[in-house]
Symmetry: none
DNA sequence: GCAAATTAATGATTTATTCAAG
DNA sequence: CTTGAATAAATCATTAATTTGC
């Protein structure tokens, strides 16, 4: 019985080291030729195909971003909760502790495209624009 | 030491999420009244002013286009820019120094200059594509 | 120690976006 | 308005770590 035909690529430690080194050096989305070169080089350390290299960089980049985003998010939350000592009291949640679920129906593409049905929004002031950097600027949805 | 009264707005993760959702929904250059409403809504999640919203959409749209344009530019210049050693962060250092055992020169002058030196179509077609996007080019910044 | 069971990583696919060309 | 090009995000699937009962 032939060994389990491992259905997916499994990088050798050496291959992994090199890929990580490249990533650290700034490689993120290698071009086709770069992928070819990288693949050719890594094939000295074990079986590998171009798509493996392609996927590896895609995944690594994506998960790096993911990790970073989670870290920043947590950091942000910690800062906020720590900077408001008085929020430790539970009874005061009425104020600013947890943003209650405010209504979320907002602007959607449908709203923008069917602009004729907009009763509340101010009429586009059109020419003359930009107001101060203060309250806002006015513009027509051109997109 | 006086606390740094953070002179500029810093979106909370929640605010960012909502802004991005709006952007995805088609909002690009909200009108003054839209900005007012958005600001009011986002203020549930942290300090924010109308100008912050205005600038956010301006910047996000601009950077989105910039990113795309840079990608296209890269694509357009690939054949020529491949001869730019600088564009390959990991070229000789990464390959010629660390990997001692196996031979395989990597990015050599010949490769860089004869960018068209990739005669074979590219990474294994295996039954799916990846590869189609390769011939085009991408690379480098802000990834 | 050692596998079966469970959980965490991560390779591979699919889906949803973006802008701009036609 | 539709489509092309190129991802990046979300998801699926399999492999590696680990936990656990014996």
């Amino acid at each position: 019985m032939p060994q389990a035909p491992s259905t997916r690529w499994c990088p050798t430690p050496k291959q992994l080291m090199i890929l990580e080194e490249m990533y650290r050096s700034g490689v993120r989305t290698p071009t086709a030729s770069q992928i070819q070169q990288i693949t050719a080089y890594l094939s000295h350390y074990g079986r590998i195909e171009g798509k493996n290299v392609f996927y590896w960089f895609q995944n690594h980049k994506a998960r790096d971003r993911q990790k970073l985003r989670r870290r920043l998010s947590r950091h942000h939350h910690l800062l906020h909760s720590c900077s408001h000592p008085h929020s430790l009291h539970f009874s005061e949640e009425t104020f600013h502790s947890p943003p209650p679920p405010p209504p979320l129906p907002f602007y959607t593409r449908s709203y923008l495209t069917s602009s004729t049905g907009s009763p509340s929004p101010l009429p586009p002031p059109s020419h003359f624009v930009i107001v101060s950097r203060e309250d806002a600027a006015k513009r027509q949805p051109e997109d």
